[in-house]
């Protein structure tokens, strides 16, 4: 577990807000604000948070589908933010992405065969026959049949389409797969199938996942370590077990207490958060969570807490633990 695959330091993405007739910049949305984490080879890092907390933006920045404002991303020792366009394209062989909406992420005018073949064509891998063979193999691997190759995306169900999306991501034998809410658009019964498929594939091909989701149950099931994001910041990062059993950050505690437990006799002690999510265009001073935190102190309003290791492998950004 000590083999470092990806290291992210101080990653930031500020989107400018423009206004007025001359399109002057009148503000900044701090979608991702100083996020630091590492991913080890073979593990699954889950990233959870509410919608709008910057988790998808983080995922897209890792592949430079969105250009980071600041920070460094090191993948296998290479600085991703400094790569040229050609080098970046080569990198995308090793880093692939699975998308949220299986209905939007496949080109409706291409057959499954063409969709799956395209990564190979783009990277100049194999002859025509080899590519076609690999497409058929990969369809079997993700639990579809090779006879599906000639069909179009609209002839499949959501779960099947997501399998196609997964197959596409695997075509170039990547090392890291960024899965951006890969099951949240699917029915619960299908979610389990797709999650199991992802786990099987991880074992089979030695994949590393960054698994972005808002469903805490799903993330717990699949992740080795979990990072919790709030308003563009990483507030807690720990291995799955200790995060779920002993959450430290008040936000993580509130988040976990909201997970329904399938036991009618269970007396829930829910910590309801008061207030709304502050606007990322105007985040609170100090700790971004202080406006809704039950344990808020004076220092929280003034100073932003840094992400610190409070137990082995357990990082929290909270003044309570300093």
């Amino acid at each position: 577990m000590s083999d470092l695959l990806l290291e992210v330091k101080g990653l930031k993405k500020y989107f400018p807000i423009t206004g007025g007739i001359f399109g002057k910049q009148i503000g900044m949305v701090k979608a991702v604000d100083d996020v630091t984490f590492t991913v080890y080879r073979g593990e699954t890092l889950g990233i959870v948070g509410e919608s709008g907390c910057g988790k998808s933006t983080t995922g897209r920045m890792l592949m430079r589908l969105i250009e980071p404002t600041d920070g460094s991303i090191t993948f296998e020792g290479k600085e991703v933010t400094a790569l040229s366009k050609t080098e970046l394209r080569r990198l995308r062989r090793d880093m692939q992405m699975i998308f949220q909406d299986p209905f939007a992420s496949l080109n409706p005018r291409h057959t499954v065969e063409k969709i799956l073949e395209e990564p190979l064509i783009v990277h100049g891998i194999g002859s025509k026959e080899e590519r076609k063979r690999r497409v058929r193999e990969m369809l079997e691997v993700v639990g579809l049949g090779s006879y599906h190759a000639k069909r179009y995306p609209h002839q499949f169900s959501g779960g099947q389409r997501q399998r196609i999306g997964i197959a596409r991501a695997l075509m170039t034998n990547p090392k890291l797969i960024i899965a951006d809410e890969p099951v949240s658009a699917l029915d619960v019964s299908i979610q389990a199938q797709v999650l199991n498929l992802l786990e099987d594939l991880q074992k089979q091909f030695g994949l590393t996942y960054i698994f972005i989701a808002h469903d805490l149950g799903v993330v717990r099931h699949i992740s080795d370590r979990v990072g919790v994001m709030y308003l563009g910041r990483m507030v807690e990062l720990a291995d799955s077990e200790s995060l779920y059993e002993a959450p430290k950050h008040p936000y993580t505690k509130a988040l976990l207490s909201a997970v329904p437990i399938p036991d009618p006799d269970h007396k829930a002690e829910r910590q309801l958060l008061s207030g709304d999510l502050p606007s990322p265009a105007n985040p609170p001073q100090g700790c971004a969570f202080h406006t809704r935190c039950s344990a808020c102190m004076d220092i929280c309003r003034a100073q932003r807490p840094a992400l610190k290791e409070v137990a082995t492998g357990h990082y929290v950004a909270c003044h309570l633990y300093e």
Partner: protein
């Protein structure tokens, strides 16, 4: 659950060579059921056949003058009558189909090629490139189109070829804007993001993903634009800026006939009918294509 994941989602009993339906195939199924669109297509095909077979269909040479038989009413000898030079109007209308369809088809093709290119560049790259191209379109659209066409022909000199160029030019902004808006919306689709994530070049994304998905509205608009182009060509012909005598362009025939309107109405009625029918055919076909290619737009 783990077992479920490994079983193929559909049992592999399905046969290897099963029928697959692309979006284009589905559109064709819808189009085939639309009777009015089929009538329109029939009219268009009818005129295309006439244009192709003109030398065999026409009983007379379109420029053969028989001054003794000028302004004859329709008869068994001259089905549509004769004009002021004694030329057979039936033969002239038949040859006129060649000119009108030629102008309609190639002017629109020209507009589509140039318009798509500009529209795609504007939509995909955005920023200042979009600004420049869009303002250019705005300027062109600020002129009444026929006035712009007249201006272009005036500069180039009156001829059928220049009329074709003029019509192509004035239709460029329509297609350009259409494609630009399509590109802007398709650019946001997740499969474009996926294409970038795969490591695809801009060129491949544009021509393998964005263009094929923008094609449907281009086809619809193109068919309807052929109808307009035929009318515009006729208008330029009528003004003496298009086809030059003795070419039997329908608009030119109308303008030649206007002096004999009361005396010999057939000189005007038949070319007029030909224009109307062709335009109607293309419009019906275009409407049908629109309904077939974008079923959501149908009310």
């Amino acid at each position: 659950m783990a077992e479920l994941a490994r079983t193929p989602a559909t049992p592999p009993t399905a046969i290897e060579e099963e029928r697959t339906v692309s979006l284009w195939g589905e559109a064709w199924q819808r189009f085939r059921k639309n009777k009015i669109a089929l009538v329109g297509t029939g009219i268009v095909l009818f005129f295309i056949m006439i244009a192709i077979l003109a030398p065999w269909l026409a009983p007379y040479d379109y420029k053969e003058q028989q001054l003794a038989e000028r302004l004859q009413p329709p008869s068994s000898e001259h089905w549509f009558g004769t004009d002021d030079f004694g030329r057979d109007i039936f033969s002239r209308v038949i040859y006129g189909a060649r000119i009108s369809l030629w102008v309609g088809f190639f002017s629109v093709l020209g507009s589509i090629v140039v318009g798509s290119l500009l529209g795609i560049i504007a939509g995909y790259y955005g920023r200042w490139i979009d600004g420049v191209i869009s303002r250019l379109f705005d300027i062109m659209l600020a002129f009444p189109s026929i006035l712009l066409a007249i201006g272009i022909v005036a500069v180039l000199g009156p001829s059928l070829q220049n009329a074709l160029i003029a019509i192509a030019v004035i239709n460029v902004p329509n297609f350009g804007r259409l494609i630009r808006s399509r590109v802007l919306s398709i650019k946001q689709e997740e499969y474009i993001m996926a294409a970038k994530a795969i490591g695809m070049s801009d060129w491949r994304i544009l021509f393998h993903h964005i263009l094929p998905n923008s094609l449907a509205p281009i086809i619809v608009q193109g068919t309807l634009a052929i109808a307009t182009a035929i009318i515009e060509a006729a208008a330029l012909g009528f003004l003496g800026l298009g086809a030059q005598p003795p070419n039997p362009e329908w608009g030119k025939m109308l303008s030649d006939a206007k002096d004999f309107l009361t005396q010999a109405p057939w000189t005007m009625i038949f070319p007029g009918l030909a224009i109307m029918l062709t335009v109607l055919g293309f419009n019906l076909m275009g409407d049908g294509l629109r309904d077939a290619l974008d079923p959501r737009m149908k009310s």
